[in-house]
Symmetry: C2
Subunit: 231 residues, 2 copies
DNA sequence: CTTGACACAGAACGAATGTTCGGGTATATA
DNA sequence: TATATACCCGAACATTCGTTCTGTGTCAAG
């Protein structure tokens, strides 16, 4: 039998909320009661309704009577977002500094220290990025300030090479001629490449076709931890 | 009778798309066929279906057969966003510079030059801000750089006074003691106020309770025009 | 042991909703 | 004039869907 919790959200509440988030994300509309039942292994529509009433009273959703798919998640789900979001653990491979090449995942070996990971919500990632081999780099110093990225931030990257890059991607680039790593928006142009800083007050770098340029990865996310109290 | 357009979107297509955007924004779910009919003055569900089929073929929406509210807007609506979004014309009252007080709308007179306006999509504004007396200021120089706002940007503001400001608002403040206008996040603290720059690398300003401080308006939007080609 | 709250199933009902079909009108084209 | 096409209506139909009602089993408090 199911374990009964005295207060708060039971497993069923959580699995319903999870499904509401997932379904809405995938379909752009709320699910029907029967769809919720299928997903949460509830065989009776009345029981689904029973749980939806509770979630309504608890303030997690709002319902519209007699309207198909008439429910809406409220801001309160943010309070339990850890319970309902699927987290992806991304290994922190090292640091990113202007003066050094960025570490990249080794293809043949897959050992990562369990401690050095960051967790990111899968729902925040674009679909194609989800099950890729993502990795994280901690930003050291303020040398990435022209990418609006600061000391202590984590840059989540997807490994891609020079052939896979597309215009407008923010990429980590190693410039052998300058011995420099940089985070820039990438644009291919007539006679070479333009690397555009995210900070609009700063000037782009132009790279000739002949110059070497080594794209290490595409930035899919930047995380700035704010749990430390700021004055 | 209705004017027939040979190609592209007719008035009905547009009014349907408009309603899809509006309804989805307000209710968090797509409308039913009959709801679309009511909004677009189409009396027959079959005619609504007829238009939805066309919008589907044209790529503006995707449909799921036999599913209530089974439709979804695609990215292609962005191509016709000017046609389907309601625009609000906001008067440009002048410039904002660090060394001068900001212009504010005069309450007794309401004449604005028709040329000096910016148009913003109503859908991008929070609901309560929509029908307020908004005004725009063009940013001159780079003195607002610590608010991540640059030369040429437009700052859309809602006039509010010292009593209406709430913690976390980004506000335009005139500091008589310094003869300075600044854009900062506002926070009330024990013994005064903290004005926090949007740029995290810059330091906040602390204002004592006794010091004068004149809040001119709340920033509701910043517009950076990118239609001019950048090199 | 009785009682009542809780969690659940199943069925039935009616309203909401998508689909389909026959028919109608205006405009343009051959 | 004949014909095709786009646009539109109303009605009927079949699902989908939300709602409601009856009943069952568990468990803790009295």
């Amino acid at each position: 039998m199911m374990v009964r919790k005295s207060k708060g959200l039971s497993e069923r509440h959580i699995s319903v909320l999870k499904f509401l988030v997932k379904y809405g994300h995938e379909n752009g509309r709320p699910p029907s009661i029967r769809e919720i039942g299928d997903a949460a292994n509830i065989s009776s529509t009345s029981v689904v309704n029973y749980y939806l009433e509770q979630l309504d009273k608890m303030g997690y959703i709002e319902r519209d009577s007699r309207v198909s798919r008439g429910l809406r998640l409220t801001d309160k789900i943010n309070e339990v977002v850890e319970m309902i979001t699927d987290l992806i653990r991304v290994p922190i491979l090292g640091r990113i500094v202007a003066s050094e090449p960025v570490p990249v995942p080794s293809s043949d070996f897959n050992y990562y220290d369990a401690d050095s990971t960051v967790e990111i919500a899968a729902s925040l990632l674009p679909e194609p990025e989800k099950n890729k081999q993502l990795f994280a780099l901690e930003v050291q110093g303020d040398s990435m300030i022209d990418a609006m990225v600061n000391e202590g931030d984590f840059v989540i990257m997807k490994p891609i090479n020079n052939a896979e890059v597309r215009n407008g991607d923010m990429v980590a680039v190693w410039l052998p001629n300058k011995d420099e790593t940089t985070l820039k928006y990438f644009y291919k142009e007539k006679d070479g490449y333009r690397l555009q800083p995210a900070n609009p007050t700063m000037q782009p770098i132009f790279i000739n076709k002949e110059e070497p340029l080594d794209i290490k990865g595409k930035v899919v996310m930047v995380i700035r931890r704010l749990d430390t109290v700021e004055v």
